[in-house]
């Protein structure tokens, strides 16, 4: 297992930035989809079981396609399953936001909303990329995530402007999640390098549009945006919370218990 590079100025150059970039995109969606799938059969109402399974399915599907493309890009013979099931925690490149345990329904939906609002802006930029395989995946994923955003925004409104209890839970979720949102908009040498592949995503511009969307929905939901503060960071370089290891242990147990087996 490779030791991840240290953050900041001491960052070692990434050998294959395009591979790294695709891992970030794929891991965000695989990990969030996995977290969402934990609700399957345990939702607050049957209609929501269906909707959450659908969102989980879309996200795992996007993650799978992106990891497959990452594997092709790497050229070392790893497919999406090798990347999903046989990488350790420090090799995952998702933002910490998506790996946090699912929490209560408010936590799940507020997190989903914060991610969806980011994802649709990111995918919109990516579908204009001149790296055709990624542009194609992004354009398909954008349709799915636009639906997810409608769904999660609707829930943020209902929970925020519902009962005193739902408001308190939604506000607590927002307060807890807020420090994990900054990492979504970081930009580093990898983002810089993939410009050579025709992937140009203006992280600062996305962030300011994301802030508008989030401010608008939370205001209508009668929620209060937390003040800007210290931001969690590290996922993009393989530094994760304590939670990801447990999630991967569960996700990978069968595959790793039978190395080389076909399923």
């Amino acid at each position: 297992m490779s030791v991840p590079p240290v953050a900041g100025a001491r960052e070692t150059p990434v050998a294959n930035p395009l591979f790294e970039y695709l891992l970030r995109l794929g891991d965000d969606r695989l990990v969030l989809g996995h977290r969402m799938s934990e609700w399957c059969g345990h939702g607050p109402i049957l209609e929501e079981d269906i909707a959450m399974a659908n969102i989980a399915l879309d996200l795992v599907g996007q993650g799978s396609s992106l990891l497959q493309l990452a594997g092709v890009t790497e050229g070392a013979g790893r497919d999406e399953d090798a990347l999903a099931y046989f990488r350790g925690e420090p090799e995952f490149r998702n933002a910490q936001l998506v790996e946090l345990p699912k929490g209560d329904f408010a936590f799940t939906m507020v997190r989903q909303f914060l991610f969806d609002a980011y994802s649709v802006l990111q995918l919109d930029a990516l579908q204009k990329s001149t790296f055709a395989p990624l542009a194609g995946l992004a354009s398909k994923a954008l349709k799915e995530d636009s639906y997810h955003l409608r769904h999660s925004s609707d829930w943020v409104l209902r929970l925020g402007d519902g009962t005193a209890e739902s408001h308190a839970r939604a506000q607590a979720a927002l307060d807890e999640l807020w420090r994990f949102t900054g990492e979504l908009f970081e930009s580093d040498a990898v983002d810089e390098a993939v410009r050579d592949n025709g992937i140009v995503v203006d992280q600062a511009a996305i962030q300011s549009r994301w802030q508008q969307v989030v401010a608008d929905v939370t205001r209508r939901a009668t929620l209060t945006l937390p003040p800007a503060g210290a931001s969690a960071s590290g996922g993009r370089r393989g530094r994760h919370t304590e939670f990801l290891g447990h999630m991967l242990a569960e996700m990978q147990i069968v595959a790793r218990s039978h190395p080389g087996a076909k399923w």
């Binding site: 795992v60 799978s64 990891l67 209902r158 039978h258």
Partner: protein, 324 residues
């Protein structure tokens, strides 16, 4: 909670019953607004709500493996399958409401433990191979049942079965594909799938219900086309379909008495342990407790969510009305 006393069934007008039975005999479909004997309405309400509950409880044993599915493709197929089962549950609950009952009352009966659901879902899913066996055997048994129910006399139920059976066929194919892959896999995979078949085989046969000799209502249900075939006929059909599928991938059955009978062209099977079946039905299966506890927890944990949705809808309805 005290179970509600069951109100006595009112006597039906014999002339209406005769006309109803004539329609059934002519192969007509009975629709929600049509007159129907009270016993018919109650029987269908019971069957349809039990079916809906089974779809919903069935999400639990399979959901147990979503987070551990060994490949991304299998993970996606399993999420999609569990999503389909939720859809079936919702669809059949809505169908049951056409008989004049409320979905929320039906759900409450499930949570109270007064409603039944398929006994098969009270068995645990212990390995990944169980996911293959459930798709192959449990969805396979459901298809045998439902293909016949698709010709049942009550229109909304029959139409639901047509639609649902298409998806169950897909689930069965996926399940069998998992089973075949494992049966052709490593020695450990092969042992895993044989063990799963050993555990799921007898409970699958029990899914068709007690032997006809012990089903007192069978005659009337058959006459009203609520059922179309006896439990034993359906069970035999399932066995005949399934045995060659296992043989094709080199799996064996936990039944020393299983043998082909050339005269009847049936696979004759050994005696079913009905004591086990009735124990599971009475709540003493390996997972009855866990399944109900999981449904109750989801329901209780979801209460504040449903209240929030209702409060939000009420506020916004009020605001829209004020604005108008």
């Amino acid at each position: 909670m005290e179970p509600l006393p069951t109100p006595p069934i009112p006597a039906d007008d014999p002339a209406l019953v005769a006309a109803f039975e004539a329609r059934i005999a002519a192969g007509e479909s009975i629709e929600p607004k049509d007159w129907m004997p009270e016993r018919y309405r109650r029987q269908l309400t019971r069957m349809m709500s039990q079916h809906a509950h089974s779809e919903v409880v069935g999400m639990l044993p399979e959901g147990n493996w979503i987070t551990r599915a060994p490949s991304l493709r299998r993970k996606m197929c399993l999420i999609a399958k569990v999503q389909d089962e939720a859809g079936h549950g919702l669809y059949i609950y809505c169908g049951t409401e056409t008989l004049g009952v409320d979905r929320h009352d039906l759900v409450q009966q499930l949570l109270d433990g007064t409603a039944k659901y398929s006994s098969i879902f009270n068995y645990p899913t212990l390995t990944w191979a169980d996911i293959g066996c459930i798709g192959w055997l449990v969805d396979g048994a459901a298809i045998v049942n439902q293909t016949v129910l698709a010709k049942a006399s009550y229109g909304p139920y029959a139409r639901a079965m047509v639609r649902i059976c298409k998806e169950e066929n897909f689930h069965k194919r996926q399940g069998y594909e998992i089973v075949a892959t494992l049966a052709n896999g490593t020695p450990a995979q092969k042992a895993m799938v044989q063990d799963a078949l050993n555990r799921w085989w007898w409970p699958s046969l029990m899914m068709f219900g007690p032997s006809d000799a012990e089903s007192p209502n069978s005659a009337e249900l058959l006459k009203w086309r609520v059922k179309r075939k006896t439990n034993d006929e359906l069970r035999q059909r399932f066995v005949n379909l399934t045995v060659p599928q296992a043989q094709a991938v080199g799996l064996s059955f936990p039944d020393p008495d299983l043998r082909y009978d050339a005269a009847s062209e049936d696979w004759k099977f050994g005696a079913i342990d009905w004591d086990e079946f009735f124990a599971v039905i009475k709540g003493n299966g390996p997972c009855n407790h866990e399944r109900l506890a999981a449904r109750r927890k989801a329901h209780d944990d979801g209460l504040w969510v449903r209240e929030a949705a209702a409060a939000y809808a009420a506020k916004h309805l009020a605001r829209t009305t004020e604005a108008a």
